[in-house]
Symmetry: none
Subunit: 173 residues, 4 copies
DNA sequence: GATGAATGAGTTTTCATTCAT
DNA sequence: TATGAATGAAAACTCATTCAT
């Protein structure tokens, strides 16, 4: 991957996350990336291809983020790590996540399977802890996760720390 | 409001909800509404004006939906009604809600104040029920609400009934 | 001529003079006149018809302005009145004249015959005063008239009085 | 400046001069220039930008035309050259001048400063020739110049040669 | 690999005009 | 007489994409 190629990807990520995929023109991407418009098409075939390239990176990133949760033996830790995940998004990952959420709504691009491993892990964890309906408990967490993520990424939750502590206590983990 | 004006609003609501605001052309709206394209601009000034008109209707609809929750005396009922709300969205209101969520992400159009009265009512309810941190409990519900709504509207939750019962039991309401 | 009809004519005169014929939309005229857009077409058939109606008034006005010059017996007075004419345009006639000049250029609408009687009168006047080439002298004045009018109407001549005196002296009239 | 760019400028000059700026559509310009309509906007940003580009060329052209008048040492020659200027407009410059006059009226685009150097030179010339009120004499010529130019460009003066000789004799130059 | 000129189809918007009421 | 809803054609402008260099 050449430097210009990376420039394009970064510019596109930033702009797609800020303005949305449809509303971002390729010429804007080119300008922001400091390259000619034609180059985008040479490297990524078309606008759609550019998006796919970004999404590809995303899938990889998400899998990485799940590794600690999927590999821990301790069920309580699995739950705690899951709940803490949205609170630990760093500034640099912010754009990436925002894009994921935006695209989910804008393009109905959705890929629920990529969340499946996490939900499975949570089900197992609740099972090990002896909950009556572990599947529903896991689904509850997944649903909740969507809400917190939105609150943090989009609505700028006011006091993240207090809310996180509240969660941990609720689950006694 | 003439009949054609309503046709335009309905067509726009449907299409904006399905394809997104930016991706929907005014010519498409006109075709779907069965009117000339010019009429859209005569009635709503521009595409943005058309959107605002829809949003206006939305604000009104949301206030209506909140009335029962805000007027009940029984704190348990307030919480129950809130949790049940996303499950009771009828087919006909589906589009409207989908649009609300889409726009929230696509245009970063956001108006958190419209949810404020609900959050306040929940806080009061938890207070009356003697919860230790009623504000956080209310925020928890609000965040969760976002998640369930998304799950229902976007991801097509598999077994709504079971999940709803699970919730009611969790809150013993 | 009803009141609304006059309103339309006045609004059109003002707007055509300010923005030009092509650049003025019929809807703007209607708004400024305080009438519905349809009424313009009922009364004047189309935009072109509205223009013609204004022009018609103009022809009449111009003939009126020429009367004193064409009827005087004194050749010197004829010349003097001609030279003074552009300096005596009152505020209220300003718009009308501006429109005449604008249209001359914008629509190549031109009707040199309407100036013919004046040029003829000047030729006669110079003849009576014993000039060698009265036709050319008259043409000279006509050409000059165009220049002064433009200077006054468009370029806002700085010191009209001084310039006028200078002219009178030049022709010893 | 590519060939197509020049085609656009030439087409625009011709059409703006013939039909006026507002009345000339960009699609017409494109057709006449033998290019796609989009290219106009790529090169000149918008219709206004296209106009500005033409005007820019105009300012340069005007300065060139004034050089001989501004550099001659002989006051009589300065005056003579000025008076002759409108008579010596060649076929090829006709369009350019027509546009200048049209725009002056259509868009109230006006830039009296560009004529200032000429007026100054005339004042000096009349001073050197011992005229009593050189400023007014210069202003007189300038005003007259406007008239002759209009007569030639717009009204197609009938016998240019005779009129020119008449002028020269009047000023004994 | 990289540029930037060029395109054609499409977008939002304007406008003169018609017509039912 | 007067309105204002409605239209169809055209206006200015944008955009993804291609291509010669």
């Amino acid at each position: 991957m050449t430097e210009k190629q990376e420039n394009i990807l970064n510019a596109a990520l930033t702009l797609f996350a800020k303005e949305g995929y449809t509303a971002t023109s390729t010429s804007k991407v080119a300008r922001q990336a400091g390259v000619s418009e034609g180059l985008i098409f040479r490297h990524f075939k078309n606008k759609e291809g550019l998006l796919q390239a970004i999404l590809q990176q995303g899938e990889t990133r998400i899998k990485e983020l799940f590794i600690p949760i999927l590999t821990t033996e301790d069920p309580k830790e699995a739950i705690r790590l899951t709940l803490e995940m949205p609170f630990s998004v760093t500034e640099s990952e912010f754009e990436f996540w925002k894009l994921q959420f935006k695209l989910k709504w804008e393009l109905e691009y959705n890929n629920p399977e990529k969340m499946q491993p996490l939900q499975q892990a949570l089900t197992t964890a609740f099972q090990q802890l002896g909950y009556e309906t572990p599947e529903l408990e896991a689904e509850f967490i997944m649903v909740f996760l969507e809400g917190v993520s939105t609150a943090i990424i989009k609505d700028n939750m006011s006091d993240k720390r207090k809310f996180k502590e509240f969660l941990v206590q609720k689950y006694k983990i």
